[in-house]
Amino acid sequence: MSILVNENTKLIIQGITGREGTFHAEQMLQYGTKVVAGVSPGKGGQTICGIPVFDTVREAKEATDADATILFVPAKYTSDGVKEAIDAGVELIITIAEHVPVKDMMEIYHLSKRKNCKVIGPNSFGIISPGKSKAGFMAHKIFSEGSVGVMSRSATNCYETVSMMTKNNIGQSTCIGVGGDMIPGSTFVELLPLLEADPQTKAVVIIGEIGGNEEELAAEYIKNNMTKPVVALIAGKNAPKGKSMGHAGAIVSADGTGSAENKEMLLKQAGVHIAESTEHIVSILKEIM
């Protein structure tokens, strides 16, 4: 099974004619992803790696009946591109750019909820369901198919964790980069129900960070609804208060909102296994699985 993307997912790549877009189109095709269309305004009619290119998402969707799109476009065009995809009725939109203005994401967040589509990112490495499909720029070699669902606000911490999991023969059902920004299109609590319902997934790893209240909301959901075991890591315990650590979202307010202590406490109360480091995640998984 897996969630969000699988071997049947028909993917559009927005910005396919750019350097990154073309490179990762090839990577994704090689991994087995069904990339059905590319979009690049003014470049419709071309083909890239055998993928037909359209001028607009609407035309790409009409021609291919795609159900997901990934944007390889710079931050300043991300808002346009995501709105275009929402407007065209694409159900799953993955946006990877760093430094998307938070006002743009505020607009997109509310728009996507109203239109019932799922936005993943920005500042996300994408989504991979190992062995089936990937929509993202992650180095897929470190992933392996299995039964642990992984969600992470950080790409590097996720890679570190997954790489160790794979070395220890613990595979993944689906790994999702929710992104490190202040307003992510989708948060842990919106993805947990999918992982809970996915028969392939037997356990869940949450790699959280300081800042925001995504882990707090996840804790509440887990307490009331999750039957599968959950392991969580909160990065940034020793980050200085009030300073952004690179991830715009990883910032603790001066009043303590978003602190690692609070997040860990609530997760622990919800029965979640708290990991002290990425290595610790793997040792916990070994124990409980």
Binding site: P101, A139, A235, G236, K237, S244, M245, S277, E279
Partner: protein
């Protein structure tokens, strides 16, 4: 990016939010000419971005020109808590009957802008939020609704302030919200907001924080940024699109990584091992030899830093490139600095060989935790 007080005042004035008459000087010689249209008594305010400025003598009152000159001479180019005073703002002293707190923040929980109001002004709102949360009134602004009269009515009823200020408060909040949106702000704060006898309002001091990701479409804010006194290393790092973050003053370890998450994990592990990180640098994407070399140079130019932990994990990063960059950077470094390198990615072995073959103080480790151990072994604290 956070505005200086005089920048906030100028911005409020642009959007017709009432502020006191005033001027900004950066030399005592300007005082006489600049303040000639101002009415005494005046307030001289040191322009530094640090809390507790008043208690440290950074805000002083003046009854005549001589006073202003004397105070300016005393303050200009001195320091408050390590922050140099390069500018003074001189404004007319306000007369009012009550000070309040007003701000609009981006609320991460509702993903909406939120009005925050307190009838107690001049306070530290974060402290108040912990001590007496009831005195703080919050009103969410749905972007599809905007600022409406009923929100102000609600604020007035809950806070108990005079109904007579409703029209001027609505006007100020509407303008502040417009500013919030127009400027891509994360915070627009007026504190204190002074209520005058005639029910008008004056913004006495303000904080503005702008989303760094939106600076490309905020040319005015970019200009303002150039006027800030930022640490030299932050500025130097920015030139290469690195993010340099000072962590703890006494720390002698620095961390370089190619992602914010890994940076935080590294700091957490080092701290857990009772060592202290002084600075961190996020490379962002593209860990090439050249970029690594610059990053190492920048971090080690901080004299307090004796140990550097480089932790690069990237599926497609070429480790030999990274190793080469580290080696080249260390070759031109003075002695006495130790670098621990953890590499993961393509050509890992080659990279490790490059590091091990140098006769510099470079330690190659395998895995995040091993790196932390190596730091301790080398004597980092």
């Amino acid at each position: 990016m956070k505005f200086m007080e005089y920048q906030a005042r100028e911005t409020f004035a642009k959007y017709n939010i009432p502020v006191m008459n005033g001027v900004v000087i950066d030399s005592v010689s300007q005082v006489k000419e600049k303040i000639k249209d101002l009415k005494f008594p005046l307030v001289v305010k040191a322009q530094v971005q640090v809390g507790g400025r008043g208690k440290a003598g950074g805000i002083q009152f003046a009854d005549n020109v001589d006073d202003v000159i004397r105070i300016s001479d005393k303050l200009l180019f001195t320091e408050i808590k390590g922050h140099k005073i390069n500018k003074l703002m001189i404004v007319e002293k306000a007369n009012g009957i009550k000070e309040c707190y007003l701000s609009i923040i981006l609320d991460r929980q509702t993903k909406c802008p939120m009005i925050i109001f307190s009838a107690e002004g001049g306070i530290d709102i974060e402290e108040t939020a912990v001590k007496s949360p009831d005195s703080i009134i919050k009103v969410k602004i749905d972007p599809a609704i905007g600022v409406q009269g009923y929100m102000v009515q609600y604020i007035i009823n809950k806070s108990g302030i005079s109904k007579n200020i409703a029209p001027s408060l609505l006007e100020v909040i509407k303008q502040l919200y417009k500013l919030f949106l127009d400027y891509d702000a994360l915070l627009m704060e007026i504190n204190p907001l002074l209520i005058c006898e005639d029910n008008t309002l004056i913004a006495l001091d303000g904080k503005i924080d702008i989303d760094d990701s939106a600076l490309y479409r905020q040319p005015i804010v970019k200009e303002y940024r150039d006027e800030l006194q930022e640490e030299e290393l932050i500025l130097e790092a920015r030139k290469f699109r690195f993010l340099y973050i000072p962590i703890e003053e006494k720390g002698n370890i620095a961390v370089i990584s190619n992602g914010s998450g890994m940076l935080m994990s590294s700091i957490d592990l080092i701290s857990k091992a009772n060592m202290t990180v002084g600075a961190a640098l996020d490379l962002g994407g593209g860990a090439t030899a050249d970029r690594i070399k610059e990053a190492v140079r920048i971090v080690l130019s901080n004299e307090d830093i004796k140990y550097l932990y480089i932790n690069i994990f990237g599926g497609i990063t070429r480790c030999n490139e990274v190793a080469q960059g580290v080696k080249e950077a260390m070759e031109i470094q003075p002695k006495g600095k130790c670098v621990v390198v953890r590499l993961e990615g393509t050509n890992k072995e080659e990279g490790v060989n490059i590091l091990n073959s140098s006769n510099l103080d470079i330690v190659s480790v395998d895995g995040l935790v091993d790196g932390v151990k190596a730091l301790a072994e080398r004597g980092a604290v």
